[in-house]
Every structure is written in structure tokens, then in C-alpha cells.
Symmetry: C2
Subunit: 114 residues, 2 copies
């Protein structure tokens, strides 16, 4: 949730995967910010990682959509050891609630004003 | 992007569809807010519409994820006459850039703190 405009990532050539993570945080940081920054670094090293868009509401709903080339890339990220530890911290400390959707993108298109 | 906390929608029973719309707006309103409110009303009437989560960054990236029961519901919304007119206004007036991803959700889960 930086405050400079960063355009949306994609579109990519289908099929690819979108992992939608929608969440509401608990109060306080509890090492969240540092871990989130570390996860951003780590996921970028996953072969087949395509990019991430992230946004939030003032009321605390966060939406992060990460794109991956294929199921294998999604699985590699899901099972990454540091990421698994972060997932446990998420349930223990950081999130009131979240929903994760793993989806295969069948169709995409982009528009850019000229 | 209201400022009260509204938890994420879902999870739903797979398979279902997620339509991810990530965008950066142009300056000014140009009837955007009124049309967006009308679209929120209209989509709720589409048979098979499951829900929407929406968030934005201070820098102007918006992410809206709408969930539908099946491809037919996605197609019904895409081809809705008022929605098509809004899509044209979007390209003419409202968006600097956007990316749309239509994806079939294969797996989902939710977490809620007790």
C-alpha cells in the first residue's frame, strides 16, 4: 500500500494463476511489516512468479493478488519454508479474518490510454 | 472503498469464478461515482453473483474482485446492456489503465479468529 501510483501488473498470456488474498488485520504490527517486506523479496525469487497488486481500504480490508505462471509455481510458493512460518504467524497474530482463492486465469485483457 | 470494516466475501464452494479488475483512474469524477453505485446495484441482480471485494491505494491503484457461481453468470454480467455502456465510458473517460483477469477458482479457504 505505497502512495505512489503503480499501475496494475499484467495482463499475462493465459493460462496462468491468480492467488487472491483478502484479509482484515488485527490491531498492532507484531512484526507484520518486516515480514511482509521479506515475503515480497522471497516471492520474487519463485520461478514462475509474475507479479503482485495490493491495495487496502481505510477500514482495514486488504486485497493482494499475486500472479504465477502455473500450478507448480503456486505450489512452490505455498510450501516455501519461510512463507509457511509467516502463514502460521498470520493465523496466530496478524489476521482477524482472511479468505484465499487460488484461480486459473482463462482470459485477460488490458487497456492503456494513449 | 468505504471506511467501515467489511470483511472479505467467501470462501465459496469451488469451482466458481473470480473476476479481478485492477485499474488506475483518470483525474476527476465524470459521473464515475454514480455509475459505480448503479453497477453495484445491477450486478447484485445477476443470477449467480456471489459478492465483491474492493480496495484502493492512496496512489490510485484500485482492485475489485467479483465472484460468480459459473461462466454463465460472468457472461451475463459482461453482456448486460447498462454494464456495456459503462465499460465504454470507462475507456473513454475514467481509466488511465486497467487489467481484467477472468479466473476459475479451483481452491479456497477462509480463516476467522475466535
Amino acid at each position: 500500500m505505497s502512495d505512489h501510483v503503480r499501475g496494475p501488473v499484467g495482463p499475462f498470456e493465459p493460462p496462468y494463476y491468480a492467488v487472491v488474498f483478502s484479509s482484515v488485520r488485527t490491531a498492532g504490527d507484531h512484526d507484520y511489516a518486516a515480514t511482509a517486506a521479506r515475503m515480497d523479496e522471497l516471492v520474487a525469487d519463485v520461478p514462475g512468479f509474475l507479479g503482485t497488486d495490493s491495495a487496502g481500504t481505510p477500514g482495514g480490508l486488504g486485497i493482494t493478488v499475486s500472479y504465477f505462471r502455473d500450478e507448480e509455481a503456486v505450489a512452490a510458493w505455498r510450501s516455501n519454508v519461510e512463507h509457511r512460518a509467516a502463514q502460521r504467524r498470520g493465523r496466530a497474530d496478524w489476521y482477524e479474518t482472511y479468505v484465499l482463492h487460488v484461480a486459473k486465469v482463462e482470459r485477460s485483457h488490458g487497456f492503456e490510454r494513449h
